[in-house]
């Protein structure tokens, strides 16, 4: 069973289901990530409204602000899928443009997170301050770490495409990066709702 490298040639190895090994493993990985984020979200929800001292969520959150940054991340999914559509039609330059757009939007989201967190910290919230600080920062922190890894992956793909290594034939790697990116976005959809929007 020849194993094609991620960046190298993507020979279609005969498989029992006709599906690519790497795509299958990515979906299995995303399934396991549901358990990972789900457990962190479960912890957050179990401890919701259980902080004994402030700052409390209702005094801390800036819903309009976070709505905007959530929207930014959501739109980055659009640019990501447009990057994939481009390379699947053989349009390498188009893919590069959309990859950069996705990375930029993701970075804007991250920057927005950093600003939001520093504001919260300035208002007295911290990892160790109370139960809200603990569960909030760890949940959103791990999500942010996943976004960061995604940005690094996108940047790596961009560099690789400059070396001419990304073509229509091996576009699977862009598709896999896209699946990861969309998943991270979808996790934020859940977090934004259950952490920010559910009333306290």
């Amino acid at each position: 069973m020849a194993e094609a490298s991620l960046g190298g040639h993507a020979a279609a190895v005969e498989t029992t289901t006709g599906l690519d090994h790497r795509k299958m493993v990515m979906w299995a990985f995303l399934g396991s990530e549901c358990l990972f984020f789900g457990s962190l979200i479960s912890t957050y929800l179990v401890y919701r409204n259980r902080s004994l001292t402030g700052p409390f969520p209702q005094d801390t959150f800036d819903i309009p602000y976070t709505s905007v940054s959530s929207f930014v991340l959501l739109m980055s999914s659009l640019t990501m899928v447009l990057a994939l559509a481009a390379i699947q039609r053989g349009n390498v330059r188009g893919m590069r443009t959309w990859l950069v757009a996705t990375g930029l939007l993701g970075s804007v989201f991250l920057g927005g997170q950093v600003y939001e967190f520093t504001t919260f910290i300035a208002h007295g919230l911290s990892l160790s301050r109370n139960l809200f600080g603990t569960t909030f920062f760890v949940l959103t922190g791990f999500h942010g770490a996943h976004v960061t890894v995604g940005v690094v992956i996108l940047f790596s793909l961009f560099l690789n495409s400059l070396r001419g290594k990304l073509t229509r034939e091996n576009s699977l790697v862009v598709e896999l990066a896209g699946l990861y990116w969309h998943f991270v976005d979808v996790v934020w959809v859940v977090i934004f709702t259950v952490v920010y929007l559910l009333p306290y």
Binding site: A12, E14, T15, T16, T17, G18, L19, K23, M24, W27, A28, L30, G31, S32, C34, L35, G38, S39, I41, S42, L45, V46, I63, P64, S67, S70, F71, L74, M75, S77, L78, M80, V81, L82, A85, Q88, E175, G178, L179, H182, F183, D185, V186, V189, V190, F192, T193, V194, L197, L198, P199
Partner: protein
């Protein structure tokens, strides 16, 4: 699950049935509208009592749209959907159980 060339070709053809890029933009517009609706509902005092179910439904819709169209699950092999929705269903069930165990909601205890 047997290997046969016809099935393999069919699987690959199905994978290649991509929406046109404009379809993706349309999905993005719908996502934006739903996000706007979420924020709007959040500020409606009149809807406070049904806020939680509405928000859950709206965010589930966004989740499904991204999964089905951007992640292409609607057009791909059902195995991929199973690999993703199975664990998702599991963790939702676990979450409900944990909420019940901690908040004693639904148990009447």
């Amino acid at each position: 699950m047997q290997t046969d060339v016809a099935g393999t070709a069919k699987a690959r053809a199905k994978e290649r049935a991509h929406p046109h890029p404009m379809e993706y933009v349309k999905v993005a517009i719908v996502l934006a509208i739903i996000t706007g609706a979420e924020v709007a509902v959040y500020y409606q005092e009149a809807l406070r009592s049904v806020l939680v179910p509405i928000l859950l439904v709206l965010s589930a819709s966004k989740f499904s749209l991204v999964a089905m169209f951007y992640m292409h699950l609607k057009f791909d092999s059902r195995l991929f959907s199973a690999l993703f929705t199975g664990p998702l269903a599991l963790i939702i069930a676990v979450l409900v159980a944990l909420l019940a165990l901690f908040h004693r909601v639904l148990l009447g205890v």
